[in-house]
């Protein structure tokens, strides 16, 4: 595993902290876009042979994760006049602390998983698990629907990182195209409806159904 891939993964882990630590939704979306671009170029440093499939994968990932979806979210933010504060349930310091703890645990846990000889030096498994956990944190500790969607995107990025280890089988594409496109597409529609019904994207108002 070339060291460049490891450097990209470390950058990815840093963006996790940035996304969880920023108080501004617009910056969080930028962080997600940056993650998308990082994941987009990552396959270049994993596969030595530049096939058509590789180029297509790189372009598609970078375009979807790095541009289209962040663009949609930014557009939603602008059109719906959402205030830009993140408004978390849990403060930023505890969230970042949890994120750090999760990253450390991911590194420890990944040590127990046997790796193929070619992947031995890769940070792929811990980076995947840590990103998954950061996404989950973002999803559960945020009040607004749009911040929850950014959390979900980070979570999906974690799955994608691991998918790259299985580049040979065509399963990476399933993760990117179907899950991402469709999942976000539908969520976008729902977001749209929430806007129409409540003229706000605060899921706090979605609290009539409870025990």
């Amino acid at each position: 595993m070339p060291p460049i891939a490891d450097s990209i993964l470390i950058l990815l882990l840093l963006t996790n902290f940035f996304i969880l630590g920023t108080a501004n939704i617009r910056s969080a979306i930028r962080g997600v876009a940056l993650q998308g671009l990082l994941l987009g170029v990552l396959p270049f440093f994993v596969e030595s042979q530049a096939t058509v499939r590789l180029v297509l994968l790189v372009i598609a990932t970078a375009a979807i994760k790095g541009a289209v979806i962040p663009g949609l979210l930014t557009k939603a933010l602008r059109d719906v006049h959402i205030r830009h504060e993140v408004e978390p349930y849990l403060g930023f310091v505890p969230t970042l602390f949890l994120c750090a703890a999760g990253t450390a645990l991911a590194l420890l846990f990944a040590d127990h998983l046997p790796l193929a000889a070619a992947d031995r030096t890769g940070l792929f498994v811990p980076a995947s698990l840590a990103t998954l956990f950061s996404g989950f944190l973002g999803l559960t500790t945020r009040r607004k629907a749009i911040s929850q969607v950014t959390g979900y995107l980070v979570l999906e990025n974690g799955v994608y990182v691991f998918g790259l280890l299985l580049y040979q089988s065509m399963i990476v594409e399933v993760g990117v195209l179907l899950d991402l496109l469709v999942g976000i597409f539908v969520m976008g529609i729902v977001l749209n409806h929430i806007q129409r019904e409540f003229s706000s994207l605060d899921t706090e108002r979605l609290s009539r159904l409870r025990e």
Binding site: L166, S169, V190, L206
Partner: protein, 476 residues
């Protein structure tokens, strides 16, 4: 032949979508549902059928799930004719299209012999049901749909990661990252244990979210509470059954890989936890549709508990899959009628249902006795089988907890159900227009008749199918 089980509903979905008028659309759904059931009967009678590809094949487990889903869907589709006539003010184009798409995707889940196809099909059922949930298009159904999609998407993402873990394990152990069940089971002995365990945990959490096992059940009360009764029936009897099938496929691989003890322990914990959570929320529940949602959590718990006990418990769990789906059909459809007639699902507004709706309320009451395991209904047999399996396996603590929780749930559920059916109906004229037409009652009666049949006499071919499916999972 088998491939028509997917193609026919898809063509039907297209036809429903293109049809300009609302009136005939429910009939398309019903006709396709009956065709699907007839096709399913042929496929099941023919035994194991493979398609050209190794990726799609009906093994015994797939045929069992197909039988359950197709029967339940047919009952729901017939009920839908009456229901959608009642809700004629709402356009039903998207609803009918999504119903048929859901049928196609559940058939694909039953057919899939490849983890990726299974995953894609499960994802597709999620999307279809999200559309169905939003039928009422009000604030409450929107909230329920949002929660369902958000929690469901996380579950489905975790299931994908678990699938990837298994593929990586296969690459290490077998030499290629295969995800065909046949290859994974055959080469299971070579799969590295840490990857199998991690994959199983992620897949259990992922598909467990779709099943609605506690503590991953939080979408369920809202979704079942706000969805039309017929959608509740399809979710509680159809989609959860598919998710259970996905979990069984994964369990089979874990078991073959020598991680059976680990997997069964987890399943017992999830099973008992689900039953306990359901019991806690069912006692004193004032909303009878949410009550049914917690009942679904409980029965998903019983299913995984049966598998977790192992041995005879596996057969019991599979039998309970059939019984649970049919009984949920009775309960949700009858509850839907009561909800429609009273325009409320809260105990404050709903009393004396037996006087106002003798047939629906009678069926609701019978459904309650059935699902809580009273003879002569089907669930009595399967719930008792889970208990005897626990005792035979010397799991006395598990068996005792199971019995206590069943008793608590019987009392909790009973007090709410009796409050609904007994007493005097409120005097206000609202909702008086509701009539118990044939389409709104006969499908429920058929469903209840099947539940009784499963309790007194299980047809030989269903027994054979159940035994074959249990053998696949290492049971008897």
């Amino acid at each position: 032949m088998a491939v028509y089980l997917i193609i026919v509903p898809l063509i039907g979905a297209l036809a429903a979508f293109l049809l300009p008028s609302d009136r005939p659309r429910p009939w398309i759904v019903a006709i396709v549902a009956m065709l699907h059931l007839a096709l399913a009967a042929v496929v099941i009678a023919n035994g194991e059928v493979g398609l050209a590809s190794e990726w799609l094949r009906f093994d015994a487990l797939g045929r069992l799930v197909l039988l359950v889903v197709s029967t339940l869907f047919c009952i729901c589709a017939l009920y839908c004719i009456g229901y959608l006539r009642l809700r004629a003010e709402r356009p039903n184009r998207i609803f009918c299209t999504a119903l048929l798409f859901f049928l196609a995707m559940t058939s694909l889940v039953a057919l899939a012999q490849h983890l990726t196809i299974l995953w894609v099909a499960m994802e597709a059922t999620t999307l279809a049901t999200a559309v169905l949930l939003y039928f009422n298009q009000n604030q409450r159904s929107l909230e329920a749909t949002w929660k369902y999609l958000m929690i469901g998407s996380v579950g489905i993402a975790l299931a994908l990661l678990g699938t990837l873990f298994l593929a990586y394990g296969a690459r290490l152990g077998i030499g290629e990252p295969t995800l065909l069940f046949r290859d994974l089971v055959k080469g299971a002995a070579h799969l590295p244990a840490p990857w199998v365990r991690t994959a199983f945990v992620f897949l259990l959490v992922g598909y467990g979210t779709k099943m609605g096992l506690a503590p991953l059940h939080t979408w369920k009360p809202d979704a079942y509470g706000e969805a039309p009764g017929v959608v509740g029936a399809l979710l509680a009897g159809g989609m959860t059954t598919c998710a259970f099938l996905a979990l069984l496929r994964v369990y089979r691989i874990a078991d073959a890989a020598g991680q059976g003890v680990f997997a069964r322990q987890l399943l017992v914990v999830f099973g008992l936890l689900s039953m306990a959570t359901a019991a806690a929320f069912m006692v004193g529940q004032r909303d009878f549709k949410r009550l049914l949602a917690y009942s679904s959590v409980e029965h998903m718990g019983i299913l995984v508990l049966g598998i977790g006990i192992g041995g005879a418990g596996i057969f019991a769990a599979l039998l309970h899959t059939v019984n649970n789906a049919l009984t949920k059909g009775v309960l949700f459809l009858a509850a839907g009628n009561i909800h429609r007639a009273f325009k409320s699902k809260r105990l404050e507004d709903v009393t004396g249902a037996l006087r106002r709706l003798p047939i629906s309320a009678g069926l609701f009451l019978a459904g309650f006795f059935a699902i809580t395991g009273s003879p002569p209904f089907g669930p009595f047999v399967s719930e008792l089988s889970v208990l005897t399996a626990a005792m035979d396996a010397h799991r006395y603590v598990v068996g005792a907890l199971y019995l206590i929780l069943l008793a608590v749930i019987f009392i909790g559920m009973g007090s709410t159900v009796l409050a609904v059916v007994q007493g005097e109906p409120p005097e206000d004229a609202e909702g008086r227009s509701f009539r118990e037409s044939a389409f709104k009652t006969v499908p429920i009666i058929v469903s209840l008749a099947l539940v009784v049949m499963m309790g007194v006499w299980i047809p030989g071919w269903i027994l054979t199918l159940l035994h074959a499916a249990a053998r696949l999972l290492g049971g008897s």
